[in-house]
Symmetry: C2
Subunit: 215 residues, 2 copies
């Protein structure tokens, strides 16, 4: 039994320099492709072409199409939830929520592909991340919801169900990324004018914050 033999690729071997580079290239290309066409609508060939490598070569790094998809989802998820993680019980509630909403809008504007990737995944029943939603995400949201509930009970926020508040923040902030073509169709070229993102952020912020301020 030659113990030096290893199966590489799967096992926990440290990746080579080339592996590191190429995995990164593939995941970036895959984010673009999957977010544009969805899992079923994307082909390995598309991702390979965008990565500048052949299909068999891509499959040398990720054995199956699913594996690429899951990898890109996991990679992006952590970044995507960071703003919610950073919502802290200390400090002014309205200010904390203002910061949270601002960061969410900012991320949607700067990385719309990430937003669309999740939107598509969830829209179709979240086959790849359902277990994550029910465990890690639920835990995180439960935690932050109780922070918000605390604020409400202290009278520092207008009475509102914290879960519904979080859903509304998600819905409104991601709308501009997920439904970009619709927004463009209606607003036309002004979407590309500088300051549009800030203007949208202002509208979302003022509406939600007005709705939760104590009066």
């Amino acid at each position: 039994m030659d113990v030096t033999v290893n199966t590489r690729k799967d096992a926990g071997d440290k990746p080579t320099r080339i592996q590191e580079i190429n995995r990164r290239i593939i995941l970036e290309a895959a984010l673009d492709v999957f977010s544009a066409y969805g899992f079923r609508g994307s082909t390995i060939d598309q991702i390979a072409e965008k990565s500048g490598m052949s299909k068999p070569n891509l499959l040398y790094y990720f054995k199956r199409k699913q594996d690429i998809y899951v990898a890109v989802l996991e990679e992006t998820l952590e970044e995507w939830l960071q703003p919610l993680h950073d919502l802290k019980p200390d400090g002014d509630p309205v200010e904390e929520l203002r910061r949270y909403i601002s960061r969410k809008i900012d991320m949607s504007a700067k990385r719309p592909e990430a937003s669309r990737l999740f939107a598509n995944e969830i829209l179709h029943g979240a086959p790849a991340i359902k277990s994550f939603l029910g465990t890690s995400l639920k835990k995180l949201v439960d935690e932050k919801a109780s922070v918000i509930r605390q604020w409400v009970s202290e009278g520092r926020l207008a009475p509102i169900d914290p879960y519904h508040l979080i859903f509304m923040i998600w819905a409104t902030t991601q709308h501009y990324a997920d439904f970009d073509v619709q927004v463009r169709a209606i607003l036309g070229a002004q979407v590309d004018r500088t300051g549009f993102a800030e203007q949208s952020a202002q509208a979302v912020l003022s509406l939600i914050l007005n709705g939760i301020k104590v009066r």
Copy 2:
């Protein structure tokens, strides 16, 4: 040249009884399938099976997969936009918007497949209805936006950009249909308890209405 020969199927011939029945069956099955798997992810066989007919027979009624998709989109669109059509300049602004939001939430709860069908279509660049978005939908939204702007300028509504307000209403009301699995993962079984829809509606309504009431 036998003039009585007609190409049927495309032409403006009045459909037979069987045609009317089967087209309806197909479109209903297609809404379920397309909304669950998207255009690319759905197969003609799936729709045929759900319709209880053979694939060639289904293709007898709709020559191509695209044709079924476009037909079901067009059919559902009209119904989907009715509430916005009914937003009238007369009457109390807050009451009008309350009615509009309520009807949107109601539709999302009762016909989530329709909501998901559009969400998916727009998410992927609206290839089938892009022209519609830029013409009919834009016209409708422009019209209603100016109604809202009028209300604001009369001081009957808090100052807010009417387009962003409409987008926020769309985003929040459709969120519960489009992201159903996520909502379920976080809230669990309580989603199925009676009154949940009303509770969500209440949360959305109170937040948005609070944000637009003059103070």
